[in-house]
């Protein structure tokens, strides 16, 4: 026996024995998971970077492709809906939406982030099957790394949006900026909660990822992204109106528009948008906590189901 080994034994002797099974308690379990994830934040960062780097690695234009999709959608909606269907406000058509391009791009930017997190997050556990079966790291890392890489894509889109507002001479100022961080926070928390649950369920039932793709596509039309809230308001009332507005993504999209769509009239928003966003955030945080508990429950059998 030598010094290194004696030191090691002495060091080990004072450490407590740890069960490999994480405690199932609601609060204690969450605390342990959060600490575990925090301890692996460097890995989280590296995995997010891997997602970004690997996706467009061998293409000539590389990262540009992640922006091409939302820009193409912007063009399609702007031309088809704005020009042909007459949604845009132009001289002689006063009931249209002013600065329609900015309006759509505000909503699209928010939606693209949501769609990325939910779609890619759902497949994240299955996509990392090789790692899950061979190494133990807190498995929340995989959906969370998707959130990280989606946020980077989002940052670039956001930059384009901000530059566009400045170019059109309608740069948002003052209290408008209050809505943006709140809406973004709601978006990330809510989408992350969905991604956690869906990624875990998808391991057991692979149909989920196809179902989610369709649901995301359909739900795109359930939020006022290409049409405005003022077009919906007269057509829904009572329970329907409340249902429409209780969609967290509707709140988020409205929050984004409130910030970046400077030309928008006050009538384009429901009253008390700030208060409702705050409420949605509180609910989303509870959902995120529940989602983590569900994930912790389901992840125990990941390695054998994959």
């Amino acid at each position: 026996m030598n010094d290194t080994s004696t030191d090691r034994y002495a060091h080990l002797a004072v450490l407590p024995m740890r069960e490999t099974l994480p405690p199932a308690g609601l609060l204690r379990g969450t605390w342990r998971s959060v600490r575990d994830i925090a301890a692996h934040r460097e890995l989280l960062f590296l995995l997010s970077r891997r997602e970004l780097k690997a996706r467009y690695k061998d293409s000539v234009l590389g990262f540009f492709w992640s922006l091409a999709r939302p820009l193409a959608m912007l063009l399609v909606y702007y031309v088809a809906l704005g020009k042909f269907l007459g949604a845009e406000q132009v001289p002689g058509r006063p009931d249209g939406i002013p600065q329609y391009a900015i309006f759509i791009f505000s909503g699209l930017t928010a939606w693209q982030l949501f769609a990325d997190i939910v779609n890619l997050g759902t497949g994240s556990a299955v996509a990392n099957a090789g790692l899950i079966k061979k190494v133990y790291v807190p498995r929340e890392i995989y959906p969370l790394s998707v959130v990280g890489s989606a946020l980077v894509n989002f940052a670039f889109q956001l930059a384009i949006l901000v530059v566009a507002t400045a170019a059109l001479g309608a740069f948002p100022t003052g209290t408008r900026w209050f809505y943006f961080p709140l809406a973004l926070l709601v978006l990330v928390v809510f989408a992350t909660a969905l991604a956690l649950v869906l990624s875990a369920v998808n391991v057991y039932l692979r149909d989920i990822q196809y179902l989610v793709e369709i649901a995301v596509m359909v739900l795109f039309w359930a939020s006022p992204i290409v049409y405005s809230w003022s077009l919906v308001e007269p057509k829904v009332d009572g329970i329907l109106e409340r249902l429409y507005l209780s969609n967290p993504m509707t709140m988020v999209v409205l929050g984004f528009q409130r910030t970046f769509w400077v030309a928008g009239p006050t009538a384009a928003y429901p009253p008390n948008l700030g208060r409702d966003l705050g409420l949605t955030l509180a609910i989303s945080l509870v959902l995120l906590w529940l989602a983590q508990r569900v994930f912790a429950r389901l992840q125990g059998n990941f390695a054998q189901e994959l």
């Binding site: 026996m1 030598n2 290194t4 080994s5 004696t6 030191d7 090691r8 034994y9 060091h11 080990l12 002797a13 450490l15 407590p16 024995m17 740890r18 069960e19 490999t20 099974l21 692996h40 460097e42 890995l43 590296l46 995995l47 891997r50 780097k53 690997a54 690695k57 061998d58 090789g130 790692l131 899950i132 079966k133 061979k134 190494v135 133990y136 790291v137 039932l205 692979r206 149909d207 125990g300 059998n301 390695a303 054998q304």
Partner: protein, 429 residues
């Protein structure tokens, strides 16, 4: 006395084998889903304590639960019942390069893989040069790993793995990779791990590797511990088991061919008389038996008794001498000796003479085997006799030689060389 780093109590693992996966299948079979399930116990009621600083080998036939046990220690699988408790930093090396992304460069993958294995960024920065140096692929470190040869891939992966700093290392069949010089480097690294008091839990099918590295072995079979203890004893249990399995296979194969000739299919489990080596007797000087002690240079003879139920034709007989790890050090057979064996109907005895056998100090076992001309080994009596070589202790290794030593030139005095070894000849007889 080192503390335990791993404690396993009443550990069981059940796998449910489902035969359906999609939503449609589940809905269609809803309520009847138990019909589509099969239970499989991969581990049953395992108790195991592993002390710090030990190197322990988990061995057993395929499907015996070795890898499952390792994954449960690593927290990758969760137990159906029972607990696993660990302490200290634990690194699982179940697959080399788990998490390597083909599109990333070697450098990026080193950082990613090191992080997966639990190194911080600063630590990786610190070890990076050492890792690249160990892998020996400096020139390609900024190339995407999809362009690597499989050898380069595992070298880089192994280099990362051995630079993590765990108290407990779990290893599954990945110890020796690459070409021979690199394998030697791997083994040296493992030895220095042992020297530093790290605990290694090793799953391997290479019994020689286990015998060489481990101070304890656990034999698993069908999810239960068959033997646990000293490596050599545990491996002997496993080798006997393998021999029994192999023999069953041979019997089955023989009965199928025989019945095929007659045009009927006989049950392979039908009791039939066996051909076997019933006894091996060693004679050294005046001692005779299944256990004999001798000094190198003594004449040794090995007598082999063969019994057969059906006539034995066109066959040959062989013996092997193995060291205490089960590694063969000497072997011969009647085919190599150019001797044709007579037809044996019931019982026969044969004898091999090994004049002045020069075996080094140690315990040896003797195997004897009956084989057919096709090369099929019908029966092998494993470790049927024991030979113990006693020397004066002037040498190590399985070969004995009467060594002498002289100083030819001492490099200082220019005069005639001084022979210090003369007259100090070491003799063991």
């Amino acid at each position: 006395m080192p503390v335990n780093v791993i404690e396993i109590r009443g550990l069981s693992k059940r796998f449910v084998i489902r035969k359906e996966k999609s939503l449609k299948e589940r809905l269609v079979n809803f309520g009847r889903s138990n019909l589509h399930k099969d239970d499989f116990w991969a581990l049953r009621d395992i108790d195991l304590d592993i002390a710090a600083g030990s190197t322990i080998g988990l061995v057993g036939p395929n499907g015996s639960g070795k890898s499952t046990l390792l994954k449960m220690i690593g927290g990758i699988l969760q137990p159906t019942s029972g607990v696993v408790r660990t302490r200290g930093r634990l690194a699982a090396l179940l697959e080399l390069g788990a998490g390597f992304h083909p599109d990333l460069t070697g450098r990026e993958n080193v950082y990613l893989n090191a992080s997966i294995l639990g190194l911080t960024r600063q630590q990786t920065d610190l070890y990076f040069d050492a890792i690249v140096d160990f892998s020996g692929i400096e020139r390609f470190i900024d190339t995407q790993v999809k362009f690597y040869s499989s050898g380069m891939y595992v070298r880089l992966a192994f280099a990362v793995a051995v630079h993590v700093d765990p108290d407990v290392l779990l290893v599954d069949e990945v110890l020796a990779v690459g070409d021979e010089p690199f394998q030697r480097k791997c083994m040296d690294r493992i030895r220095s791990f042992q020297h530093e008091g790290r605990t290694i839990v090793l799953v391997s099918h290479s019994l020689d590797q286990v015998a060489m590295l481990c101070d304890r072995a656990v034999v698993l079979d069908a999810g239960v511990v068959k033997a646990d203890g000293d490596t050599i004893d545990a491996l002997r249990v496993l080798r006997d088991e393998f021999e029994a399995t192999r023999r069953d296979d041979v019997e089955r194969a023989l009965s199928v061919t025989e019945s095929g000739d007659e045009g009927t299919v006989a049950s392979p489990w039908e009791a039939r008389p066996r051909t076997e080596v019933t006894a091996v007797t060693v004679t050294t000087g005046d001692s005779e038996g299944t256990d004999a002690t001798f000094a190198p240079g003594t004449d040794v003879s090995v007598a082999v008794d063969v019994t057969t139920g059906s006539p034995l034709e066109d066959w040959f007989l062989g013996i092997a001498v193995n060291d205490h790890l089960g590694q063969p050090v000497y072997g011969t057979n009647t085919r190599l000796l150019g001797v044709a064996l007579p037809r044996v109907t019931e019982h026969a005895r044969f004898r091999f003479y090994l004049p002045s056998l020069m075996l080094g100090e140690g315990d040896y076992t003797v195997d004897a085997a009956v084989s057919l001309a096709t090369g099929l080994e019908v029966h092998r009596a494993v470790a049927a006799a024991r030979l113990v070589s006693r020397t004066m202790g002037h040498s190590v290794g399985p070969v004995h030689a009467e060594a002498e030593f002289t100083v030819v030139s001492d490099g200082v005095s220019s005069g005639p060389s001084v022979e210090t070894g003369a007259g100090r000849r070491a003799t063991t007889r």
